[in-house]
């Protein structure tokens, strides 16, 4: 069979070009822009994004840029932080943006499963810590899946739970020993709850009610 325009047309119809997702494009542009910075510190062989400090740094930078929703305005936020904006305040903003983005960008989950024994192993090699993954379907918070996020300088495991028709994003990363606080926040119509338990720092974000978050917390980490 030789080359045929009809065949090529049929192939292109069946396998159309897939434009890179916007998030990936922004990330890649940032990498291309800061390529000089990563060149010297990045390990020769990058096995996964989460294991590479260089990769994590550029992802964080990209996350900052995306969180601002303002193209290359990332510098502005970096300057703002250096001037002493409350770290919590910036983090709450980032978490809300991450939550909203996960709902908008069709990027809620990289691993879709209601089985905690499927979701938890998925993080091996992607996160450099073991997140807590507990299905709370019997408490009215069914596990839906998970993904890796980069929030406030942390590689975070994001677990996704349902609450009636709402979604709860739970961000987990290793807690610093000093952090024993419980923080309740409201931002742009979203509720946030922060607590620590079992060496992990939790930030839950949702458009469900603050009471839902408290119920989630006592079910997820009883006694904390």
């Amino acid at each position: 069979m030789s080359e045929s325009p009809d065949f090529r047309r049929a192939m292109r119809d069946a396998f159309p070009e897939r434009p890179a997702p916007e998030q990936l494009r922004a990330w890649a542009q940032n990498v291309a822009r800061t390529g000089g910075d990563t060149r010297h510190s990045e390990p020769e062989r990058v096995r996964t994004i989460s294991r590479s400090a260089g990769a994590r740094r550029v992802l964080q930078a990209a996350a900052l840029v995306l969180a601002l929703g303002a193209g290359w305005g990332g510098h502005a936020l970096a300057i703002g932080l250096a001037r002493g904006t409350s770290a919590d305040d910036a983090m709450v903003g980032e978490l809300v943006d991450s939550h909203v983005r996960s709902l908008l960008a069709d990027h809620l989950m990289d691993v879709k499963s209601t089985d905690q024994h499927t979701v938890k192993p998925w993080f091996i090699g992607k996160a450099d810590f073991a997140p807590q993954v507990t299905d709370l379907a019997s408490d009215g918070f069914p596990l839906l899946g998970g993904r890796i996020e980069y929030v406030a300088g942390h590689s975070a495991a994001a677990l996704v739970f349902g609450r009636r028709k709402h979604v709860i994003n739970v961000y987990e990363w290793p807690a610093s020993s000093a952090d024993q606080r419980v923080v309740r926040e409201q931002r742009s119509g979203y509720s946030l709850l922060h607590w620590t338990a079992n060496g992990l720092s939790f930030w839950a974000v949702t458009d469900a009610t603050p009471a839902d978050l408290d119920a989630f917390r006592s079910a997820y980490t009883p006694g904390h």
Binding site: D6, R12, A14, F15, E17, R18, L24, R25, A28
Partner: protein, 166 residues
């Protein structure tokens, strides 16, 4: 970042999963960015980036694909229509039948034939570029292409007039 769409498209059709394709492209970009400035010709940059993407697809996802995880997004939201193989599609419905048969037939191709065909027909690569990207001799590329088309003609012969393929 030039050629990102081409990189993502190739990754998407090789690993057949949007999230995996994103991971692959990120790895490839991190590798590529260190050498990007040293490249002169636009065409060779594209070939070279696609070669990196392909290698990433295989190194990162061979094991995973071997477990026969086959999450093909486009397959999920499209109905696969079964037709009488003798029927000749010549209208819009027929084209959609051809399309779903073609997708299934390409997916069923052995990996080397499939990637060669995708690079040729979707990415519009020359034989020489495909040889570079897939690290295969030119003769092998041409034989893989003709085997891929022959297999498709076999598979689809009953669905569409063979003249449409040849």
């Amino acid at each position: 970042m030039p050629h990102l769409d081409a990189a993502y498209t190739l990754a998407f059709y090789l690993v057949r999963d949007a999230a995996d394709a994103e991971d692959v492209v990120q790895e490839a970009v991190l590798r590529a960015v260190r050498y990007l400035s040293t490249l002169r010709s636009d065409a060779s940059a594209r070939t070279w980036l696609l070669a990196i993407v392909r290698r990433e697809c295989y190194s990162a996802y061979r094991a995973r694909r071997a477990r026969a995880e086959h999450t093909l997004e486009r397959g999920d939201d499209e109905e696969r229509q079964i037709v009488d193989p003798g029927e000749r599609p010549d209208d819009a419905a027929g084209r959609s039948v051809l399309r779903s048969h073609l997708i299934a037939a390409v997916d069923a191709l052995p990996e080397r034939l499939r990637e060669t065909l995708i690079l040729r027909e979707i990415q519009d690569c020359s034989y020489e570029e495909i040889a570079t990207i897939t690290e295969a001799p030119l003769g092998t590329v041409m034989s893989r292409l003709s085997r891929a088309r022959a297999k498709l003609a076999d598979e689809l012969g009953g669905v569409l007039d063979i003249e449409e393929l040849s």
